[in-house]
């Protein structure tokens, strides 16, 4: 076998109170796609940040192309040929799409930046991922998935010999994932070494050649992907024998439909979504499926009053209401758990407990603080149920791993026990085990009579949980499919692609 391009041994990293990495060794060979697997908080992102100089390891050595190296900071990593997409999108929202792809390495002509070329090249690069956008628009105006793709485009155009992708697919749908894999395979064939993190097992088995498993900051092992079955992989990640995964099949929805909670009657908004008819009942889980930009999020925003409908009627119960502001929706018992935890969800400097009770406290009003005992109970319960790691309520959310942050955001909305809960990509970046827990919780909520509007790019998940699935395409509701057991992911996918089935 050839020499590894990148090799680390004995890497340890201690954070106050947490040993995030403990003597980890890791090798990356040219021309391979290497998966880094582990539960939320296992230390994957920390390892990546150590490799790219965001953090300095407390112990351990790193060699790059056979020579021992210390990486000082991310720019240094880039100069050494390591290009990275970090877990949280790290681009500049105030700059244009094109500039975000090229900043720091802008092509120049006569000493000045060649803007025309930047625009042309970025449009070309985006076209390779089948993205056709206005490259002069500010990045902040793009959806999270598109931002993620732009970050990827930037990273793969850096001509690196090592490409690191930390959960690049967490908000992408199948089509984009396929295109991304196409690009990754091509780069691999050109000899680039790719490190790939994802919580989707199918994706790992689809593109990766080898896999390294971490658990609680320790190395479990390195395996060729062909020699490790799914169940072995999961049990190596969790340290337990796998029985949870099968259980979730049993959790298939039992229909206990109650009174009607909400009805959209021809409600739509020009430019955002064409008029839709939709009913949600108590105890019903309604899934929204569709490709990126199909109008999934627009529909959710309409229900939540973040965008007011300009045609049709919205009824809550029997009453016709105008949901013009989120406040109006909240007052009627509608809660919304947003997709972008970093930009509009969590308050990074507050603790886990404070973040969890935020919405509940706001609903009670600030003059009626939650009794401390009740608060501790609730927080403790959800930390346990969602397996938030580390399980201490006093940790600042900033210090949690990405998946654990997501769980905190979810807990915030789950404890408010609204009448209708809108979940936009609630399991984004969450590991297999915890995902099962979350899905069970959703089923339990519905069992208690709460209506749930469930958005996810992962079709299996939508199918597993929903009583009915609303399929959107080109900002139009094209089909409503009852999830009566005959609905398969393939049929759903066909409907998404071709319209009414």
């Amino acid at each position: 076998m050839t020499e590894p391009v990148l090799e680390v041994t004995g890497i340890s990293k201690q954070f106050p109170g947490v040993r995030a990495l403990d003597g980890v060794a890791f090798r990356l060979f040219p021309g391979e796609i290497h998966a880094l697997m582990g539960e939320n908080g296992a230390g994957k992102s920390t390892l990546i940040k150590v490799l790219t100089g965001v953090y300095q390891a407390d112990e351990g050595r790193m060699t790059l192309d056979g020579a021992e190296r210390r990486v000082h900071d991310p720019p240094h990593a880039q100069r050494l040929g390591i290009s990275t997409v970090y877990q949280e999108v790290n681009l500049c929202p105030n700059l244009s799409v094109a500039e975000n792809i090229f900043i720091g390495r802008e092509p120049r002509k006569f000493g000045r930046i060649d803007w025309a070329r930047i625009r042309r090249r970025s449009a070309e690069l985006l076209a390779r991922l089948d993205l056709d956008l206005d490259v002069t628009a500010p990045l902040g105006a793009q959806s999270l998935a598109v931002q993620q793709l732009i970050a990827i485009v930037r990273a793969i155009d850096l001509d690196a010999k090592v490409l690191i992708l930390d959960e690049p697919t967490s908000s992408l749908d199948r089509g984009e994932v396929e295109r991304l894999f196409g690009v990754m395979r091509r780069l691999r064939d050109d000899g680039v070494a790719i490190l790939f993190v994802s919580h989707f097992l199918e994706q790992i088995y689809e593109v990766c050649d080898r896999v390294t498993v971490l658990r609680n900051g320790r190395l479990v092992g390195e395996y060729p992907i062909g020699e490790l079955g799914r169940f072995d992989l999961v049990s190596r990640m969790t340290g337990q024998e796998l029985h949870d995964l099968e259980q979730l099949e049993e959790a298939a929805p039992a229909i206990t439909r109650g009174r009607r909670l909400l009805a959209l009657e021809g409600a739509g908004r020009t430019g955002a979504i064409t008029p839709v008819d939709l009913e949600i009942h108590e105890g019903e889980v309604v899934g929204l499926a569709g490709l990126l930009g199909s109008g999934r999020s627009e529909l959710a925003r309409l229900v939540f009053g973040a965008e007011a409908a300009d045609t049709g009627r919205v009824r809550v119960g029997e009453e016709t209401v105008a949901l013009r502001t989120p406040r109006a929706a909240i007052d009627r018992g509608i809660a919304f758990c947003p997709e972008d935890r970093k930009a509009d969800g969590l308050v990074m400097d507050l603790t886990v407990a404070e973040n969890i009770v935020l919405a509940l406290q706001a609903a009670r009003g600030w003059t009626r603080p939650l009794p401390p005992r009740r608060r501790d109970e609730l927080v403790g319960e959800y930390i346990r149920k969602l397996r938030i790691q580390p399980p201490s309520p006093g940790t600042p959310v900033r210090n949690l791993s990405g998946g654990n942050q997501q769980k905190v955001l979810l807990a915030r909305w789950l404890i408010t026990r609204p009448r209708l809960l809108i979940l936009d990509e609630p399991t984004r970046g969450i590991d297999v085990g915890a995902k099962t827990e979350i899905q069970k919780l959703v089923v339990a909520l519905a069992g208690d009579g709460i209506g749930v509007l469930f958005i996810s790019a992962e079709l299996e998940e939508v199918l597993r949980l929903s009583h009915k699935v609303e399929v959107l395409r080109d900002r139009t509701l094209v089909a409503e499919l009852a999830n009566d057991g005959s609905l398969t992911p393939e049929r759903l996918l066909g409907t998404i692609a071709n319209g009414a089935s």
């Binding site: 720019p75 990275t84 681009l91 930046i113 628009a137």
Partner: protein
């Protein structure tokens, strides 16, 4: 590609600058209608002559604010530079150009030092430059507690001569230097990597770092540029007053910040244009000129007018900002009240 789509997006970003432009035209037209001899090319040119130093200082401030920082030391550095000009020429008898060169170097290093402190020790720009402000002002008075007048052939020549433009309009060297500085700033901010890095850092320092941009270097550069501009502003101020005085340019940092904000640059960084700053300075200048033409009003009215404008512009920025966010794409969905803040 999709120009039809691109245009509105670009326009929205330009709204604050366009508003400032409209405001300036309106103010100037009002003056021209109200007072005789106001609506002339010479009055317009005088705006540049009388505000050359403010323009230069405000340009430096624009860099700092775009990067998400603030520089409170500029007024003191202007005073210190004027003082050094006076001491260098009149007390030490050094040649004018040499003195100017040294002064520019001192200002640049002073700014770079502040930038270094801000970056390396992670001190708030507000605090670090406040310290810089006291330091520079203090240095002025240790050099001399009294005003020193500049008696130097070079300074006299530059200060007293006017360049005649076609149409009988005459401008000072200071005004020309200010405009050259302006052109240079436009070029740097739009056409060079350093300039774009300034915007990137203002948009998100951590993101800029993760994207591999030279954050440390750029931050130090930004304060060095501001220091340079302050020193240059001090030199222009010395041309204008032909003296150095520790009491010169007290509070000029606030005028500079006001000009930048009125010019549409966001105090949070990452968004704005130097053209806006030029217009901001002109708006302030035209208000001052109108008060001089009025003759009877006290100069405090300038302050009051500036404060009203500042409020109006901050309100405008909020509005444009909110609209932009609301229009931004669906799934960048930020229903603000979804995460209730304690204020709601």
């Amino acid at each position: 590609m999709t120009t039809a789509l691109a245009l509105p997006a670009v326009h929205r970003r330009h709204v604050p600058v366009l508003v400032t432009f409209g405001l300036f035209v309106l103010a100037f037209a009002t003056g021209a209608l109200r007072y005789e001899n106001f609506g002339t090319a010479q009055v317009f040119a005088d705006l540049f002559i009388d505000n050359a130093f403010l323009l230069v200082v405000a340009i430096g401030m624009t860099f700092v604010i775009l990067s998400g920082g603030i520089d409170l030391s500029v007024g003191s550095v202007v005073a210190l530079s004027g003082m050094l000009c006076a001491v260098g020429t009149s007390r030490l008898g050094l040649p004018g150009p040499l003195v100017i060169l040294v002064v520019l170097l001192v200002g640049t290093l002073f700014g770079a030092a502040m930038g270094y402190v801000i970056h390396v020790f992670e001190i708030q720009p507000f605090i670090a430059t406040l310290a810089g402000m006291f330091l520079a002002r203090g240095l002025c008075f240790t050099i001399s507690e009294k005003q020193i007048s500049i008696e130097n052939g070079f300074f006299d020549t530059v200060a007293l001569n006017r360049v005649a433009l076609p149409g009988g309009v005459r401008v000072s060297a200071g005004a020309i230097i200010a405009l050259v500085t302006f052109a240079a700033a436009v070029y740097v901010l739009h056409w060079t990597r350093t300039g774009r890095n300034v915007y990137a850092i203002g948009g998100g320092e951590q993101s800029a770092l993760f994207m591999g941009l030279p954050v440390a270097r750029t931050k130090i550069q930004v304060y060095a540029i501001s220091g340079f501009c302050s020193a240059l502003g001090g030199v222009l101020f010395a041309f204008y007053t032909l003296s150095g005085d520790g009491l010169h340019a007290v509070g000029m940092e606030l005028d500079a910040i006001a000009a930048v904000v009125i010019g549409g640059t966001m105090l949070t960084g990452g968004s704005g244009y130097v053209v806006g700053t030029l217009l901001g300075v002109l708006v302030l200048g035209v208000i001052k000129t109108m008060l001089t033409f009025e003759g009877t009003l006290s100069s405090w009215w300038t302050r009051i007018a500036i404060s009203v404008l500042l409020f109006a512009f901050i309100a405008l920025q909020r509005l444009v900002g909110i609209r932009r966010r609301a229009r931004s794409s669906p799934s960048a969905s930020s229903p603000a009240p979804a995460s209730p803040s304690p204020t709601s």
